[in-house]
Amino acid sequence: MAVKEEFDINDSKASELSSHEKSDSNDQTEIIPAEEDAVEPLIILQDEVVSTEAQNESGKPDSDTFNEVEVPPIPDNGESELLSEETEAENSADPVDEQKDGESDIDELEDDDFLGLDDAEFDAEPPEAPDSSQEEVLVSQENDKTEEKPEKDNEPAENQKDSNDDDKSSVKSAKKSKAKITIGTPSATQKVVGLTLLLMVIAGGAFYMSPALLGFHREAQPVPLKATAPTPPVQIIQKQLASPKPLSENERYQAKFEDAGLLRDELLEKKEEIYRLKHHYQNGIADLEDQINRELQKEGITSYRKALENRRIELNLRTIQRRRSYIHGLEKPARWIKQGSEELLYLKRKAEFDLQLIDIAGGIDMDRHMRHLGAAIQKYRPSAEKLAVDRENTDLPPLETIWVHIRKKKKKTAKALPTVTDREIIKEICTGNYERTAELTSMSAAAAQCLSKKNGSELFLNGLPTLSPAAAKHLFQWRGSWICINGIKQLSPAAAQYLFKWEGKWISLNGLTEFPPELATYLMEWEGKQLELMGLRYNKKNADQKALKYLALWETMGGKLFISDDVRKEIDRVLM
């Protein structure tokens, strides 16, 4: 029989009742008229249940199967007692519901005469599996609502009243028992509802655990950090900042060494800047001096007073004055920087030497070295204050002094600082263009290295006033025959050592005014043929015959010496 889930209260219940009763022989429940349910309390006894089962099996109408049972009076709180009796009866009884067909239960529930519940009550209460407590509730509700009837329930109940008056009493008892049975056994609908609810609960739990099933995604929970310390904020990285990780001692020392090295490099760069600036001013002064000289020549000015009357000359003189003061003012920061760079180098080297021996030597205090280095770094870190030129206290050279200097400049030798022209010439030489070699007024080691590659047999460098040992070392690797350096007034022993190792044949040193014994000893090693020293002057007051002897000795070894008459006489005298 099909399961009917809805109650149709308008149906005629008498015929249905009878038809149901007849068709389902196994069904133990009966539809009881609602008015009877509402009027009298439902009392279920175990004996009735058992007798009902027996009678139903025989196929007799339900009304005949129920025996009349004395109903005990209902006490004031008798619901509990009654309910307890009912529950006892129920519990002891066989599980009648198990034999039932769920469809028949639903059919009975649809009838308005169902004793257990009103429509409203049925809808309101949760469709749970019937148990003793629920049955008590149902019973109590029925007892409470004896006078409450929905109109729909009343109408068919009223219609049946007239026809069922005779069987009222017997039906009552049967209803009671059956009602209890009805309440105790969950109907098909209840089962379905219960299953549905259970499925909903399970589904709800599943969706909660994995909301992705519904298309939802939980917010990403923050991953707990393993590190206990919070991450530090972003900072500007500076070379002096320490690493966040604790450094080993060696790493700490190396870091300090690096700091000192970096500062020293910075100081050397600054030193180079100052040098270039001084050179810039020097070149500017040279240009101004040329302008003044041209102006003097053009205007025919010979005196200082007349020169000052010329506005252009005066302004140029003042500019020279200012720039000279700047050059002089740059000496102080240049000295400070040099001192700083050398001190840093010294402290760094000292610490490094000790660090090298720390594993075998005792008494080495590296912390003290680090302190000294730190203090030096602090002291020599360049700042505007430390590099400032004191313009107020700088004495400006008088204009007249500058005027005199300009007038004598033609007689003086060139400055040691390479001029702009020198730089250009050196550039040309290093690219292979040796046309302006003779115009050089200074020689660096790099320039000498380039010049040593020159082809040819002659090299004229009469514009050089001095020659450093570093430049000499490279210059005298030139493979030629004749070298002219007549501009040199004084030659250092170190430079002479390289000169007299030159493989050429002819040296012109006519600018040399002194030839000390140190140079003469190196001359003895030279295998050249000719040496010009026309500039030598014999100094009677400070006569050193040792050098003369060496010169004489060299001549006897095959060399040809070109000297002045005075010196020649002295040599002859020494030989005699």
């Binding site: 000292k350 030497f353 030597a361 005792g362 008494g363 080495i364 040992p469 170190a494 140190e518």
Partner: protein
């Protein structure tokens, strides 16, 4: 009968002791000598390593001194002066002289220690040879007085074992040479050529 047995047993025991006693003693001395020889070898190995390490450090320091002297000479050539007082106005010359002064002291300390270790090595070598010879004597003669040798070996070992672990020298106890003397020694070769 019993008495005879006892007497013969005692006699045999005495003979055994007389024969084997010295053998036992010589074995003991041999063992001890061999042990001491092993200790000497181990100590010599340690000393060799120490000497090699110290010589390496010394060579490194000498190279540093040479580099510093070259710098001084270069600066001196630019100054065109041989005067010490004028030279030390140049900060590079002044600081390099101080560094050379320090390094000379270190080199002296290392040199002293090298010779000390070498003496110890040779002494141990001497005792090693003696132990070897005594060992042969013991093998031949079954006995040899070695107490004195053992004592001497122990004395040397006791002297040098702590030396291997402690610092070679103390930087605070090194001799300090005058910087002017160092300057004169640096420029002296140039004067000699002149």
């Amino acid at each position: 009968m019993k008495k005879q047995l006892i007497c013969s047993s005692l006699a045999a025991l005495m003979i055994y002791l007389l024969l084997c006693g010295p053998n036992y003693a010589s074995e003991q001395k041999t063992t001890e000598l061999k042990r001491k020889m092993a200790e000497i070898s181990s100590m010599q190995q340690g000393l060799s390593k120490k000497i090699a390490l110290v010589m390496q450090k010394q060579e490194q320091l000498r190279q540093k001194v040479d580099e510093l002297e070259k710098e001084i000479k270069l600066e001196k050539a630019q100054l065109l002066t041989e005067s010490y007082l004028k030279a030390i106005r140049n900060p590079r010359i002044e600081f390099n002289l101080k560094l050379i002064q320090m390094l000379f002291g270190y080199i002296t300390g290392l040199t002293d220690k090298i010779s000390h270790f070498q003496n110890g090595y040779e002494t141990l070598d001497f005792f090693q040879q003696q132990a070897q010879d005594d060992l042969l004597m013991i093998k031949t003669l079954n006995d040899m007085e070695i107490d004195e040798l053992i004592a001497q070996i122990n004395s040397v070992l006791d002297e040098f074992i702590p030396e291997l672990d402690k610092p070679v020298f103390d930087t605070n106890e090194i001799p300090s040479k005058d910087t002017e003397k160092i300057w004169n020694e640096i420029i002296q070769p140039q004067k000699a050529k002149g």
